[in-house]
């Protein structure tokens, strides 16, 4: 039984051990054993880099198929702001929502107003907070996992305000069960997701509470049917639909969008896991203590760059940016009433259920003295390796291989560079043994004779 849920699975039939995933994994969570890739569950942060890297499509995102809808009496689609980014200002949220209802969902709900409420709630939290800074947005589940696994010391800097999709799903379930006379578990709420990582926050929330969502359907799966279900709208309706958009909500689709729409001055926006790691290292040393807020997304450009989106990521980034600019230019706000948000904030309406817990990588040993000893052994092993990170042993780098050896998960002889040396040593030992053995002297003499004859 696996301790951790992951949003990706390896299809061992399709995997032919080409190691592309192993080399690209930013947390060194993949090994190739007996020609097949294997994920080290505790190290994986569900960033999805391996999905795109695999030439055989052997790494499969675990989103839900459409058929899941049949399990519920009433279904609701909750599109990620990333879906809006696929269309930009040409097709507005209202039209998308209308079309989704034709695809088999009983209802669809636009998240932008809830996103707006959460943006305001974050603003409130930033104002009240007095602990170490900067605070870190939890919008990206991979970033939350990264903090849990690699930066456990920063765990209290994760903002404990729940995600828009969770707050919306919670309220929808309450309202709909009353209105329709159904039990909450008879109502299925599905997130239309731009990335597989959102699945982990649904199946196994970081704060160990429960998710109000029942599943996630990939944007790439729904894009085609959605396009054909789109209806034309009249010009007058377009203007009215535009005026209904909460600008704060549109900010959630791209990196820097929350900062921009809230007009936060002292905030940073980062995307791409490599960049995030650099920034988090700086947070840990205290270098960024004068910054208030960090908006970080594992995918380049934010959710628009998710691996389950359709549009080119720079195009969709541009599309959502243009929509935000239009709303700014037209001075359209349609945002939630901040006084109302403050009231709800005080009633704990927005806070997560539970607490983020660190999930540090297993140390070399539970016992510190033994861990120190193993760390030294790891250094010694590493020194004996060629340090070219060829990967033939099945580990991404010589350093991770040395670690695997001290953890007892690999054997030193798995390194092919050590083999010729071992072989030379063994054959020398063998020949010494032959020299010592008196009974073999006559045989030895015969071998020498035979060789002399040949020459």
């Amino acid at each position: 039984m696996n301790q951790y849920f992951h949003s990706i699975k390896i299809d061992t039939e399709k995997c032919d051990g080409r190691m592309k995933c192993m080399r690209i994994c930013p947390t060194q969570a993949i090994r190739v054993r007996n020609g097949k890739a294997k994920i080290i569950e505790e190290k994986c942060i569900d960033c999805g880099e391996c999905i795109t890297a695999c030439p055989n499509d052997a790494i499969i995102p675990q989103t839900d198929p459409f058929g899941e809808l049949a399990k519920f009496k009433h279904t609701v689609a909750l599109p990620s702001p990333g879906l809006q980014a696929q269309f930009g200002k040409e097709i507005l949220p209202k039209r998308i929502i209308g079309s989704l209802k034709k695809l088999g969902f009983d209802d669809a709900f636009d998240l932008s107003l809830t996103c707006g409420e959460i943006s305001f709630a974050i603003q409130e939290y930033l104002r009240e907070y007095t602990g170490p800074r900067p605070l870190i947005s939890i919008a990206c589940p991979t970033v939350v996992r990264l903090v849990q696994v690699k930066y456990p010391a920063l765990i209290d800097q994760l903002i404990p305000i729940d995600l828009p999709r969770e707050v919306a799903a919670r309220e929808l379930k309450k309202k709909k069960s009353k209105k329709l006379g159904l039990k909450e578990n008879e109502i299925g709420i599905f997130y239309l997701t731009p990335c597989p990582a959102k699945m982990i926050s649904i199946k196994q929330p970081a704060e160990k509470g429960r998710s109000y969502l029942d599943g996630a359907i990939s944007i790439s799966d729904i894009y085609g049917p959605l396009l054909s279900a789109l209806e034309n709208v009249k010009k007058e309706t377009y203007r009215k639909d535009l005026e209904d958009i909460c600008i704060l909500g549109m900010g959630w689709a791209m990196v820097g969008g929350i900062c921009r729409t809230l007009r936060l001055k002292n905030a940073l926006a980062v995307s791409g896991l490599g960049e995030i790691i650099k920034v988090f290292d700086d947070i840990e040393t205290g270098k960024l203590r004068n910054i208030d807020f960090i908006e970080a997304y594992s995918c380049p450009q934010g959710c628009v760059g998710g691996s389950l989106t359709v549009e080119n990521i720079y195009t969709s980034h541009n599309k959502i940016l243009k929509l935000i600019e239009t709303l700014e230019y037209e001075q359209i706000k349609a945002c939630p009433d901040i006084r109302e948000v403050r009231k709800l904030y005080k009633q704990n309406y927005f806070f997560i259920n539970g607490k983020f817990e660190p999930r540090p990588i297993k140390p070399l040993d539970k016992n510190l003295a033994k861990a120190i000893k193993k760390r030294k052994k790891k250094e010694d092993i590493y020194e004996s390796l060629p340090k070219i990170d060829c990967g033939v042993c099945g580990a991404p780098t010589c350093l991770t291989f040395a670690e695997d050896v001290v953890r007892g998960e690999a054997k030193q002889t798995d390194c092919i560079f050590n083999l010729p040396q071992k072989f030379a040593k063994l054959s020398k030992e063998l020949s010494e043994l032959l020299d010592k053995s008196v009974s073999l002297h006559s045989i030895r003499a015969n071998i020498d004779k035979a060789q002399n004859k040949k020459e």
Binding site: P152, A153, T285, P363, D365, R375
Partner: protein, 149 residues
């Protein structure tokens, strides 16, 4: 004295000419501590202290080093540099006191919080300096809670 196989010792030379590398040793130290399973609150305090100390060397000295010694009981960071030294240590330990140049301040340093910050995060802190020759720091963290006084 712990037997030597239970002592982890690493020596890091601080690159004082390359500002882009500043802070990398603190990151390396953090990774070692994570690997051997040091508690995350101690890792954080160590990261802050080692970063401040490393930056002091980068800013003021031509060369310097950090020596990390870990036993099951304590974590010891030793810093040595060949910088200008400190004339008045008591003054240097005051919050807000700084001899940083305008250039250092432009880069966001020189708030006079470095040494006080190290002291605040460490369990034990000692500093000695000879003007004109250099400064050395001993920064100690206790690893088992009983020794945490």
């Amino acid at each position: 004295m712990a037997s030597s196989e239970y002592v982890l010792s690493e020596r890091f030379e601080i690159s004082c000419t390359d500002f882009s590398k500043a802070g990398t040793i603190s990151t390396k130290i953090k990774e070692i501590l994570q690997e051997i399973g040091i508690e995350s609150s101690i890792i954080r305090r160590t990261a802050i202290a080692s970063y401040e100390a490393e930056m002091n060397v980068v800013m003021y000295a031509n060369s310097g080093r950090i020596i990390l010694n870990i036993t099951p009981e304590k974590l010891h960071l030793q810093l040595e540099d060949d910088g200008p030294g400190i004339d008045d240590i008591e003054k240097a330990m005051q919050e807000g006191f700084s001899t940083a140049t305008d250039k250092m301040r432009e880069m966001g340093f020189g708030a006079g919080m470095g040494l006080p910050n190290i002291k605040r995060n460490a369990d034990r802190f000692e500093i000695s300096s000879i003007p004109g020759e250099g400064t050395s720091l001993d920064i100690i963290f206790y690893l088992n809670k009983t020794g945490h006084q």
